[in-house]
């Protein structure tokens, strides 16, 4: 089995971004042409067969999402692309948006065709200012070439794409908060149900998918859902863009088929290439700060949704943050919690106030001032924030803490005794 592939990222670096002619020459828009001649149901069947799961982090079955929305009768429906790539350590959507915008546009257009939707919105995070400009050019080019806008390829189907942006709130990556933000409201999550497939953007049925998910659609229609699925594992169809960062020797975005091992991703010379400076791997943080922390003993776990979940890890956004032995896990977690403390939207009590209390305790621990009682309280807080918070932000905010605690209990204990084994914390 190859350890890296170029399926979703095939055009990246090979086609001038946004150039329709080159994109078409490379096989682009074949899928849209195909889709225009297919029944919506048949397209959804292909997506179901592909085993594609949401690439933003929640890993919900894209096929099920599409099939559900197809059943919803109300019109108009909206297609929304979540390009608010805010998960720390994640920059794979950035690659696609920058290097192959037309593939994302094609995926969205196909979705538009499936749901007879005439308007799509792509919510590009505020920090990606330059991408907003280049992406707009790609949209304009697609419209000029007849692949977007009115009467696409003479089929009578109209689909217009609009770029929206936020002001940099992490929580706007949560789909319902994102829709609020598009509507001009404060970007805070909505209460569910109703689900977005029923009551979404402007109160209408809405499909929200991640950039990478949309980028998978054209390849799926091109190669067929089953063939796409066959690349991966039983429950994880296709490939995944992983983002290596931290102390990795070869930081960057790589496309891997599901089923390769974590060891391959981090150490294979074609991929991560091991730890920079020849140091030892201490831990890795998967799926962004909302994901779990893993230890070297878990390196042989296959990288797939099902296998990672069994070991308490997750694919999440595809982030792989690598930390070498110089990193203090307590100090690292302080940074993680500080992030969530900064990004909590504040509307629910557990997240807003619970994270703050957790952060207070982890700070105490890193200063050597925490007590055993503090640690019990920390565990209780983490449990409560996970179980009770309003949205995914709070529910996942303690995941890194709890997983790291499991693997590095002695290091936590050392801090209680005013010792930092990595020599990072000033005790």
């Amino acid at each position: 089995m190859p350890k890296s592939l170029n399926i979703v990222s095939a055009n990246c670096g090979k086609v001038t971004p946004g150039n329709v002619e080159e994109y078409v020459r490379a096989g682009g828009y074949e899928s849209l042409k195909k889709a225009l001649s297919m029944q919506p149901r048949a397209i959804v069947d292909e997506v179901v067969a592909s085993g594609l799961r949401g690439r933003g982090g929640a890993a919900f079955s894209t096929g099920s999402k599409w099939a559900h929305l197809l059943e919803v009768r109300e019109n108009p429906k909206y297609i929304v692309c979540n390009a608010d790539e805010g998960e720390p350590g994640t920059f794979k959507d950035k690659l696609l948006l920058e290097k192959d915008p037309l593939c994302v546009i094609e995926g969205m257009t196909i979705a538009g065709r499936v749901f007879d939707s005439h308007d799509g919105y792509i919510y590009i995070r505020g920090e990606y200012r330059s991408i907003q400009h280049s992406f707009q050019k790609a949209i304009d080019n697609a419209v000029a070439a007849g692949y977007l806008g009115n009467n696409i390829l003479g089929s009578g189907f109209n689909f217009h794409l609009h770029i929206m942006t936020g002001a940099g709130a992490y929580v706007c990556g949560e789909n319902s908060a994102l829709l609020n933000s598009i509507e001009g409201k404060v970007g805070r999550p909505r209460i569910k149900p109703p689900h977005l497939a029923e009551v979404g953007l402007f109160q209408m049925p809405t499909l929200v998918n991640n950039v990478e998910t949309f980028a998978c659609i054209a390849p799926i229609l091109r190669m067929g859902g089953e063939a796409f699925h066959a690349i991966g594992t039983a429950e994880s169809g296709g490939t995944k863009l992983v983002c290596l960062s931290g102390h990795s020797a070869r930081r960057g975005v790589y496309e891997v088929p599901f089923g390769v091992s974590l060891r391959d991703i981090i150490f294979d010379p074609e991929l991560g290439g091991g730890i920079a400076g020849g140091k030892e791997l201490k831990f890795f943080h998967l799926g962004g700060l909302s994901g779990s922390i893993g230890c070297p003993a878990q390196l042989d776990t296959p990288y797939s949704y099902e296998c990672l979940v069994r070991t308490g890890l997750s694919v999440g956004s595809g982030a792989v943050v690598v930390a070498d032995e110089s990193v203090c896990v307590v100090d690292y977690l302080k940074g993680v919690l500080e992030f969530f403390l900064h990004e909590s939207c504040g509307k629910c009590i557990p997240c807003q106030k619970g994270i703050r209390q957790m952060y207070t305790i982890i700070c105490k621990l890193s200063e050597g001032k925490a007590t055993q009682e503090d640690m019990c309280l920390l565990k209780e807080l983490a449990c409560m924030v996970t179980n009770v918070s309003f949205c995914g932000l709070g529910q996942t905010s303690a995941r890194a803490l709890m997983s790291a605690w499991k693997h590095f209990e002695p290091e936590f204990a050392a801090h209680l005794n005013k010792q930092c084994p990595a020599g990072v914390c000033k005790l």
Partner: protein, 579 residues
């Protein structure tokens, strides 16, 4: 239950229960005798599920669910109080307490605070294990109607929901995120500098002491203690069906007799009734309507008794002010007449009269303070207290409210018709006006006095009345969101009504912003029932047949809309800017 409504079977704490589809776990649990704790939830407001204290465990599910927002489903097994749930709830409460001043003894809501009650119920002792961070924020108490003590706010969001969604005023909002997340006004301004209409609905839904009425009881005690002052009091129609709530009487109990006795015991020299001046209002407003109908005046004419509504239209629809009746509210008519008509009759120097009113309303305080409200030559109404403040006075005086022998109002401003008493509910002013307008216009006796189409708690109620061949279309709205709707329709020329009643608060004065804490839709329904029953029992049910009103016009005012009436009983309005 609707006929097509399915029943759902589920198990709560081991007890099987069947409830209609769409019921929340919170309501379903009540059926098996389980009260799940809540804080942000309010039965009359949209579910927000932000405090998370109502979480329950569902068998087979990893995540907890909030009982307030989760609808039941077939076969669900709910555990409302597992050890894990209890621990999580306690922790949520501890988190709130860690940022709450916990200055209960000095708090106006002491013993009536939902946070306090919940803390007691859940047995959260002040464990001090969390980091305490109590923000000390400035008290906003300068507007004279509503006090906002942001330090006590627990960010439940009820007030913002009320202010934005129900009243569409938007004075209170949420701002910032994370630790800086705040329930506040735009740019942190004082309420006085916002679009606030002082309806006080926020004070009735606030679970703690973060929003409450400006307490003016000390001023009343001081006046009562002054031997040179002749202190009179008027009581609004809806107070008599609400005050009993404060003393354990069933919701809607008509306790006029106890109320009058309590006011006498407190020490007022005369106890009068706003119902009397409500009858006067009908005389003026009814004749104004007839005048507009027959002289091509601005139509539809809109009622003007609700001061929150007045501030709303002045602020948001200043171009629509000509639609407002120029008649003052019953409170202000009473005020103007007590220092003229009554002073003359009783031979008392109006300078020595202190005119107090007991109102279901916080906006009435602002109305009494409007600069133009001094047509008697003095401040027409000196002090306004709400039902809640009145209850506080009764307690401080040590009165056993329910044990007081029932007494009657004083003459002459205590004699009222059934039309006056129904002013306290949405639709009441309309019904009272129609009962009089019909007879004045047609010169025929009206036999069916009940206009049932305009009764009830629906946001918008319409009716058509035949005035001897002239059909008059009327509409009654309550709650400012509905007022906004009707104003937009009028502005766009889509409404062909001749007469509109607007009450600022949902349900009318029975649901006023000064009514006892804990007033909900059900309470309001009972209060409405109480008022209509009282009206039904009365011999005189039409304002123009009230002998005390007839003689007052004969001896003092002259004609309705006459020169004296115009001077004392009518007013003008001021367009305001939306800051």
């Amino acid at each position: 239950m609707q006929p097509d409504c399915k029943n759902i079977n589920l198990i709560i704490d081991g007890v099987p229960v069947s409830v209609p589809e769409g019921t929340t776990i919170l309501d379903a649990a009540k059926k098996v005798g389980v009260k799940i704790p809540t804080l942000c939830h309010h039965p009359d407001l949209k579910v927000r599920a932000t405090c998370r204290i109502c979480v329950v465990e569902i068998k087979g599910q990893r995540k907890y669910k909030t009982a307030c927002s989760t609808e039941v489903w077939e076969g669900a097994e709910v555990i409302t109080n597992s050890p894990g749930v209890q621990q999580a709830r306690k922790m949520v409460l501890e988190l709130i307490l860690a940022e709450h001043p916990q200055a209960c003894l000095g708090c106006l809501r002491n013993t009536k605070c939902e946070l306090q009650a919940l803390t007691a119920e859940m047995g959260v002792a002040n464990k001090n294990r969390l980091k305490k961070t109590v923000k000390v924020l400035p008290l906003d108490d300068c507007n004279g109607a509503i006090v906002r003590d942001a330090s006590k706010c627990i960010q439940c969001g009820r007030c913002t929901e009320m202010c934005q969604e129900v009243q569409t005023v938007g004075a209170i909002t949420t701002a910032n995120r994370s630790m800086s997340y705040d329930v506040t006004t735009a740019f942190g301004k004082k309420l006085r500098e916002t679009t606030c209409v002082y309806c006080g609905q926020c004070t009735t839904v606030c679970p703690v002491g973060a929003l409450y009425e400006h307490d003016d009881t000390e001023k009343v005690w001081a006046a009562l203690a002054d031997p040179n002052k002749h202190v009179i009091v008027q009581t609004a129609p809806s107070v008599r069906v609400a005050i009993g709530d404060e003393f354990g009487l069933p919701a809607g109990t008509f306790s006029e007799g106890h109320m009058v006795a309590a006011l006498r015991r407190i020490g007022f020299d005369k106890v009068f009734d706003t119902n009397w001046s409500a009858d006067v209002t009908i005389m003026e407003e009814g004749h104004e309507l007839i005048h507009r109908l027959t002289n091509r005046g601005v139509l539809p004419m809109i009622t003007s008794c609700s001061p929150g509504w007045i501030k709303f239209i002045e602020t948001f629809y200043p171009d629509m002010l000509p639609h407002l009746s120029t008649a003052k509210s019953p409170q202000q008519m009473f005020g103007a007449l007590v220092k003229t008509f009554y002073a003359e009759k009783a031979g008392i120097d109006p300078a020595n009269i202190v005119s107090v009113s007991v109102m279901p309303c916080t906006a009435k305080k602002i109305e009494a303070a409007r600069p133009e409200m001094n047509d008697s030559g003095y401040r027409d109404v000196d002090i306004v207290i709400t039902t809640r403040e009145f209850a506080r006075m009764i307690r401080r005086k040590g009165l056993d409210f329910c044990a007081l022998p029932e007494e009657h109002f004083d003459d002459p401003m205590g004699v009222a018709s059934g039309a006056g008493v129904i002013f306290g509910t949405s639709g009441g002013v309309m019904e009272a006006a129609l009962r009089t307008v019909y007879e004045v216009v047609t010169k025929k006796e009206l036999h069916a006095l009940d206009f049932k189409a305009v009764r009830g708690q629906q946001g918008m109620k319409t009716a058509e009345v035949d005035l001897d061949g002239t059909p008059v279309k009327v509409v009654v709205v309550n709650g400012l969101k509905n007022a906004r709707k009707i104003l937009n329709e009028i502005r766009e020329g889509k409404a062909d009504y001749q007469f509109v009643e607007v009450m600022c608060c949902p349900g009318g004065c029975v649901g006023g912003g000064g009514q006892p804490v804990g007033t909900v839709r059900k309470t309001k329904a009972s209060r409405m029932e109480g008022l209509y029953t009282a009206d039904h029992k009365m011999n005189i049910r039409q304002s123009h047949k009230n002998p005390a009103v007839i003689s007052m016009y004969k001896d003092f005012l002259g004609e309705p809309l006459g020169e004296k009436a115009h001077h004392l009983l009518h007013t003008h309005y001021t367009p305001r800017e939306q800051q």
